[in-house]
Symmetry: C2
Subunit: 335 residues, 2 copies
């Protein structure tokens, strides 16, 4: 059996290119004592990957040149010599851009598979995506009913969940996204109160119109000019939940912080960064709530499935041009 | 009796100039029913005044053109028709840049005068200065023993207290100030562990040397390049207590936020702005603690007294060139 992989070949300068990766075909590894072999089915593509490709450490060490590219996958245990896992188990872990991987079980979680839940939902709602939205919105953002919430990259995997969680908690929710189609999805299907297409609208003007009582809470995935427009309109004691800064991940020169930074002082606001890896302890509560909201029809999602591991590098660039429609995953193997 | 005053004559562009104020001599006002007349002794000069002179509202409405310039004063009740105050009471309030003022008592606090405490301490330690340092450091900053605290504008009125409160709570404290004399005062008299002269040193390099374990807490009064150097070195879960941004108060063009803003995300930091006016409820606890620390010799301060109300506008500019030595006050009348 062959294990096809993408390894990091070069540190990208600016946008990621396919040549930053190297395609490799290796013999599939054999599990040693206490190890197991996982066959990956889905690979999650996440904006944070751009940070892992840099030479400077982010919240995880950089992926080394020549190393299999890091990524979260959902897979099935093919063979187990580890007492905690059995062949056939559905597992999630950071097993990389490859068809199969050997693991000692550390950092691997066994997922209970429900027949009614498609496997893609384990990527789009459960796991790190759902936990990010849940912890960011509830623990960091602390939404109060009646508050105005703005979500940036609102049609993205995390943003779309964060906005819906805000709605469930009684907020007026305004999303910012990059196409009219995405905006229609937010307001038509997800119940957002308003949506702004940042490519065609003046974001500050539109925010002013859609947030007549100002902004109390911002679930921030973008940064740059969009964050500045939001900071212009924040209310006293506003919270900016800093989940991502995708507008600057490809930057090749230092990027200035928000020009309206003074408003953080004047309006007594709080900007707080968080990374999901610190919050695994909240996963049981998060998964229970997310599952219930999903079953009740209060939480919707969409998945953008790219077929074939060979297309992963090109697919990754779609997160940065905004052409993905919902949670972006690569289908590596058969369900 | 004549009431001499400074009124706001023009909105400053860039640094404040004397011509932005107008000197006026008016008949002293008479207290009406339920009112009292206060004779001001000391006027506090604070960086926040620059914001009040702008046309755009900050956390208080702008001072109107032609209005007596806003400022906190310490004074004595000369005459009272208000049952809550009597002639001879020592009072603090926002009574403006003038020799006397009529008040209905709203926002005026009666201070119990201790013979051992010089009146200047009511400006430099008690009141809004001490409460700002206390609330910012303890409630917002939440210092833990063993953490590394950096204080900017550390020889200033608020910064010098904030740093000492950090020492009292077991932090390693590094101050940043604008002269060798100030740095010697911080380390020699106030017990700071280290001090950096930002005019002669490379702040980032010096911080690296003095904060070998990184920075956990920043009491920020300055912003700009100094904040950027701090953000470069923050630890996971660092707190940036945003108390002031004096480096940009005189700016005439938009000022970019910190270039190392990404570190707020990557290091899961929290930036929180606060304004003392929201925290008067903490004053009793703050004044009790500050008074005890002062009596125990654990808290020191110095006051830079400018004689004569006529010198107030020129004195205000000293806050921005850093030539003041400690809490800057104007002596308006005899004690």
């Amino acid at each position: 059996m062959v294990n096809r992989q993408w390894r990091l070949a070069a540190r990208p300068v600016g946008p990621v290119k396919e040549s930053d990766f190297e395609w490799r075909e290796e013999p599939a590894p054999e599990p040693g004592e206490n190890q197991l072999l996982v066959r990956n089915i889905y690979l999650s593509l996440d904006p944070a990957m751009r940070g892992w490709m840099r030479e400077t450490p982010s919240y995880l060490p950089p992926v080394r040149l020549g190393e299999v590219m890091r990524g979260t996958t959902l897979g099935v245990v093919e063979q187990s010599r580890n007492p905690n896992f059995a062949a056939g188990d559905l597992v999630r872990g950071v097993l990389g851009w490859q068809e199969c991987a050997v693991s000692d079980g550390a950092g691997l979680s066994r997922e209970s598979r429900h027949p009614a839940i498609p496997l893609t939902a384990y990527m789009a709602v459960f796991g790190h995506i759902g936990l990010t939205a849940y912890v960011g919105m509830l623990d960091i953002g602390q939404p109060q009913a009646g508050e105005t919430l703005v979500v940036t990259a609102a049609a993205g995997a995390v943003g779309s969940l964060a906005g819906q969680i805000g709605k469930i908690h009684g907020c007026r929710v305004v999303g910012i996204a990059g196409s009219d189609e995405k905006c229609r999805w937010l307001t038509g299907d997800l119940g957002f109160d308003a949506a702004i297409n940042y490519r065609t609208e003046n974001v500050l003007e539109s925010l002013r119109r859609h947030c007549p009582n100002g902004i109390d809470l911002d679930f921030e995935n973008v940064g740059g000019e969009i964050l500045d427009a939001i900071l212009a309109l924040i209310n006293r004691r506003a919270r900016i939940v800093l989940c991502g800064l995708i507008s600057q991940y490809n930057a090749t020169a230092p990027v200035p912080g928000p020009y309206n930074f003074t408003n953080v002082l004047v309006r007594r606001a709080r900007i707080e960064g968080f990374i999901v890896v610190d919050h695994w302890g909240r996963a049981p509560a998060a998964m229970a709530d997310l599952g219930r909201w999903l079953a009740e029809g209060r939480l919707k999602y969409r998945v953008d499935v790219v077929e074939g591991l060979e297309n992963a590098p090109r697919a990754l660039t779609r997160l940065f041009d905004g052409s993905n429609q919902g949670k972006l995953v690569v289908k590596i193997g058969e369900e």
